[in-house]
């Protein structure tokens, strides 16, 4: 019985999303019908970018009308004062929104300030918009998903923790599935890389980052169509936290190995110092790029192959594309877990380097 109840929050959430999305069917204005390949390419481009409304899917009717299924999200701007309004004002980026006498327009998934109700984005020679950009703290689609994952993780693990208390130290329900993973992170990732003495301090971060990246990656594979980890801002944030923890927990030995490498001649020490210092930045930078690139590439390839089904439009090519997409989808499931694992292992490894005490050299 309890197992059914524990699934309820997620089911409810999904149901809510579905209801809201169908209730808010919105009509877009007609647009020129582009040819299929360009449309697919644009669709992929669009999918990879963040958006100001939570669109689940959209299609073009026979009459060339754009129909969107989804719901609008709040836009929060700082432009001479806080400005909060619904993203429905943009009409999926097709119109200019007027808020307190200022006009804003969405261009390539970014909000720019324009002159008036029919103001245009002015582009320079490199197709970069030159309009003024207000500080943008909007609750975009990705932020919504981060919040959802935040709530899911918080209630899932809180529930798991309280089950231990009620059950006399034994896991129950979802905890039975999650406990081996928690123990795996502790016994196979944290302890071997950081060491028995210090690992406890880093467990909270390692567990949180592992489950966060994993769950977010898995959500990216659902047809809801969001992918948080293919935003450089998200992976940058994760990487910088790893960098900050590493830097602030670095002991004397760690800094000595960076600035005055023991066991090598003095000229080498001088050469090595900047390289080692650069290395401390490159490590989290690689973390950031690895996660971002893997997830982005996975999404591009998967969506391109799905798009090929429509491009081929014959039984052989389309079914082959389907098969390929299916296999790749399974591979992406693996990648979702693998990237979470790699991010956690490497973070643990860097923490381990920072707190290492004995001298090998």
């Amino acid at each position: 019985m309890r197992r059914k109840i524990s699934l309820k929050p997620i089911t409810l959430l999904l149901l809510l999303v579905t209801f809201v999305s169908f209730g808010k069917e919105q009509e877009g204005h007609g647009e020129q019908k582009t040819d299929q390949k360009t449309e697919i390419k644009e669709y992929i481009q669009h999918h990879l970018q963040d958006s100001y409304d939570f669109s689940l899917f959209s299609y073009t009717t026979e009459t060339g009308e754009h129909k969107h299924f989804g719901f609008p999200l709040p836009v929060i701007l700082w432009d001479n004062g806080l400005k909060v309004f619904s993203s429905s004002k943009f009409h999926h980026g097709e119109t200019v929104a007027e808020v307190d006498g200022s006009f804003y327009k969405v261009h390539h998934s970014k909000i720019y300030k324009v002159d008036g109700a029919d103001g245009q984005i002015i582009e320079d020679d490199h197709h970069h918009a030159t309009n003024e950009k207000p500080l943008d703290f909007s609750i975009t689609k990705n932020v919504t998903m981060i919040m959802m994952v935040f709530l899911i993780m918080f209630f899932m693990f809180k529930r798991m923790a309280s089950a231990y208390k009620k059950n006399g130290g034994m896991p129950k329900g979802m905890g039975r599935f999650l406990e081996p993973i928690v123990l795996y992170v502790r016994d196979e990732i944290a302890i071997p890389n950081i060491g028995k003495k210090h690992y406890k301090r880093y467990m909270s971060y390692l567990l949180t980052v592992f489950f966060f990246v994993w769950i977010v990656n898995l959500f990216g594979l659902t047809p809801i169509g969001m992918n948080v980890t293919n935003n450089i801002a998200v992976t940058f944030c994760l990487a910088i936290i790893t960098y900050l923890i590493t830097t602030f927990s670095g002991n004397k030995n760690y800094w000595k190995h960076i600035f005055w490498m023991p066991g090598v001649p003095v000229p080498m020490k001088i050469i090595l110092a900047p390289i080692e210092l650069l290395g401390t930045f490159i490590k989290p930078f690689a973390l950031m790029i690895r996660l971002y690139a893997n997830i982005t590439a996975g999404h591009i390839v998967l969506m391109s192959i799905i798009g090929m089904m429509f491009v081929f439009n014959n039984w052989l090519g389309s079914s082959l594309s389907f098969l390929l997409a299916f296999v790749l989808g399974i591979l992406e499931l693996l990648v979702a877990a693998l990237q979470a694992y790699i991010f956690t292992v490497l973070s643990a490894l860097y923490f381990g380097m920072a707190v290492e005490e004995h001298d090998h050299h």
Binding site: F137, M153, F157, V182
Partner: protein
């Protein structure tokens, strides 16, 4: 690189940072700490239980060894006690035998002595009796002989005759 920087959204970074750090702190307090503590406690409990089981097993073994030793000792003690008893029995029999022998010997000796003295007394009486008898007989014979003069004279004559012949 330009695309990477162009794709960077400050708002998303801000929300991710705020939410993620909050998530770490909240989960640390409400989930990771209780979960890891429970797991640790459980592991510790299992380890302790295993240890004490091992200890109990060792104790059992010790106890069994002790029992074995006690049994062995008891057996040896019984053996020696039996042996002692047997020795005592033998000695008692031996002693009794000796004493009985001695007693018997003494009795025999006494009997012998008694017999000897009785015998002596009987002999003495017999001697006296015989002496009296002999005197009586001799008296009677002598009286009888002496009453018959002729016969006596004849006898003396014979005796004298023989004597002279032999001496001649």
């Amino acid at each position: 690189m330009e695309e990477l920087l162009g794709g960077f959204s400050l708002g998303l970074f801000f929300w991710q940072a705020v939410l993620f750090v909050a998530l770490i702190l909240l989960l640390k307090k409400f989930a990771w700490k209780p979960i890891l503590d429970s797991v640790n406690d459980r592991e510790e409990g299992i380890k302790n239980a295993l240890d004490s089981a091992e200890k109990a097993k060792l104790e059992m073994e010790n106890l069994q060894a002790d029992n074995q030793k006690l049994l062995k000792e008891a057996r040896a003690e019984r053996e020696t006690m039996l042996k002692e008893a047997r020795d005592i029995k033998n000695k008692m029999i031996e002693d009794a035998k000796g004493e009985a022998q001695e007693q018997a010997n003494k009795l025999i000796q006494q009997a012998q002595a008694a017999i000897e003295s009785e015998k002596k007394a009987a002999m003495a009486e017999l001697k006296n009796h015989v002496a009296g008898l002999s005197l009586d007989i001799a008296e009677k014979v002598v009286r009888d002989e002496l009453s018959n003069k002729d016969k006596q004279l004849k006898l003396v004559e014979t005796m004298l005759g023989e004597k002279s012949l032999t001496e001649a």
